[in-house]
């Protein structure tokens, strides 16, 4: 029998501490949409997505109401479209992007992920064409998200792709400069990309996934912070325990919502992504958790250690609460989507180098960071290479989502609005790595890859 205290705790978490299900993402395989004629492909893609996801939003809204738990985003991820493009005679990737946009609009989802290519070891048919089409695709669509995997622990880092992605990010920002450079905010460059990630912009439906699947991403930085605020005198063992217990509760809710959605939609349940995903809303910040643990400001010495503990405790608490854990699973540190990170970056306490260190102990990577518009493509590529190296050597996912603010410099701001938030332009070390980037080739896989 549940008691009144537990009931009120749950209600307080939802009502006052921003507890929510961040996303229910339906993964749909497009492998059976392959055809040599691109118009046929687009027709098949539209039909399949709108058939499979027609009840996604409606079902989630029903669950939201009956269980009383907000589900913020309903989204779709699809097979990396470069794989579909490979079979087409005319490799006009933008056509596919426009089809994805139309399908997303029909289904009522706010983002569709999977305008992606996996090129960690090299380029197959369709990969280069897709990557070259990313700037235009992100400019002519609103809902389409793109990602490119350029490295992995098993394969090393494809430095030709790294070079290409630096140029792609810059071009994408230029094409959308009249819209706050929104293009690259929907583009993620991965190392060790997970194939079942429900979070945007990096979600895609991996080749090893079933035909259709439901993945859930939970949230709840506000809940963790509130729990810590009520328990001021704990030592760090106690703090870690408290985070674990809170993460357990949050994840249980994700598991419940995921299994309910999967039952009602008649689609297998994939994974719960146990991530602390912040939003720009006050009280929903990962940086504020670190500050609650005892740092005057996120970015101060000690930030990496505190984040390492937080990330580990979230996983330990979440893993028992769910039958299948996957995706990114950890604490996110996107700058423009986190009120505490924004403040820390504005006052200069948090810089890109510190963020890079933080990404070696938490999930994802250099996320939603606004950089000066005059940053060169080579510098962006080199930042991607550094971040990918951290992922490759530590057998973890790392990602880069940088937004060059065209025409702006340090001290100014970019406003994206909504969940993407806003961010101050952060200084970048501009010493040229051009020769290193222009060498091309592959960084060989590290010793860590030889596990057999």
């Amino acid at each position: 029998m549940i008691n009144e205290k537990d009931i009120l705790e749950t209600i307080t978490m939802i009502q006052d501490e921003n507890l929510d299900i961040r996303t229910v993402t339906m993964g749909i395989s497009l492998l059976d949409c392959c055809h040599s004629d691109i118009n046929t492909v687009c027709g098949k893609i539209y039909d399949k997505i709108t058939l499979y996801a027609k009840d996604l939003v409606k079902t989630c809204e029903q669950i939201e109401k009956e269980f009383g738990i907000p589900i913020i985003n309903k989204r779709i991820s699809v097979t990396p479209t470069a794989m579909i493009l490979a079979a087409c005679d005319n490799k006009d990737a933008v056509k596919i992007a426009l089809t994805l946009e139309k399908a997303a609009k029909t289904c009522g989802v706010n983002f569709i992920g999977g305008f992606s290519a996996l090129v960690q070891k090299g380029f197959a048919h369709g990969d280069t064409e897709l990557i070259r089409a990313i700037p235009e695709a992100l400019s002519v669509t609103e809902r389409v998200c793109s990602s490119v995997n350029i490295g992995s622990t098993k394969t090393g880092i494809n430095m030709d792709a790294v070079k290409l992605m630096g140029e792609t990010i810059l071009k994408s920002a230029e094409l959308t400069k009249d819209r706050n450079c929104i293009g690259p905010a929907k583009l993620v460059v991965f190392c060790n990309a997970p194939e079942d990630n429900p979070f945007m912009a990096g979600a895609f439906h991996g080749a090893g996934e079933p035909d259709c699947v439901i993945n859930v991403g939970v949230s709840g930085p506000g809940v963790v912070r509130a729990a810590l605020a009520k328990s001021k005198n704990l030592d760090l063992t106690g703090v870690a325990d408290l985070i674990k217990r809170t993460a357990f509760k949050i994840t249980r809710m994700g598991q419940l919502v995921g299994s309910e959605a999967s039952k009602r939609l008649g689609v297998p349940f994939g994974i719960v992504d146990i991530s602390l995903a912040p939003t720009p809303a006050v009280g929903d910040s990962v940086a504020h958790i670190l500050e609650e643990i005892g740092l005057d400001r996120c970015g101060a010495p000690g930030t990496t250690a505190a984040l390492a503990m937080l990330n580990d405790a979230v996983k330990k608490g979440g893993v028992m609460a769910s039958s299948h854990v996957g995706g990114l699973s950890g604490a996110f540190i996107p700058v423009s989507e986190d009120a505490g990170m924004i403040d820390a970056a504005k006052c200069g306490c948090l810089n890109i180098e510190k963020l890079e260190a933080m990404t070696s102990v938490c999930s994802v990577g250099l996320d939603m960071i606004v950089i000066p518009g005059d940053t060169t493509a080579a510098v962006i590529s080199a930042i991607i290479a550094d971040e990918a190296a951290i992922g490759m050597v530590n057998s973890k996912t790392t990602a880069v989502r940088l937004i060059p603010a065209i025409g702006k410099s340090v001290g100014e701001e970019l406003q994206f609005g909504g969940l993407l938030g806003f961010g101050p332009v952060m200084p970048v070390n501009n010493v040229s790595p051009a020769k290193f980037i222009n060498r091309g080739g592959r960084i060989p896989a590290p010793m860590q890859s030889l596990k057999n």
Binding site: I2, L8, E66
Partner: protein, 89 residues
């Protein structure tokens, strides 16, 4: 199937009666009621059996939210499973 109705806000006359009347209208059986005052707030938690409900549960949820607005209270009706999932292993 059971649902939890929670009422939080300033104590006023007739809250219990109003919520119970709505339950009766939907053929929902109230099985347990607890009331307390928490930090000057009136808190009432009702356990209910919704297995014989005569309409869509989400419609009842809307009516409860509406009733809360009328009486300047926060009234929520939620499936019991969410609490079970969160608080029991």
């Amino acid at each position: 199937m059971r649902a939890v109705i929670s009422v939080i806000g300033r104590d006023t006359v007739g809250i219990l009666a109003a919520v119970s009347a709505k339950c009766a209208q939907y053929n929902i059986n109230v099985t347990d009621v607890t009331q307390s005052v928490l930090q000057d707030m009136f808190v009432m938690v009702m356990m209910t059996d919704i297995s014989k409900i005569n309409a869509d549960f989400s419609k009842f949820v809307d009516e409860m939210t509406e009733l809360g607005k009328e009486k300047n209270l926060s009234i929520r009706a939620m499936h019991e499973e969410i609490f079970n999932a969160m608080h029991t292993i």
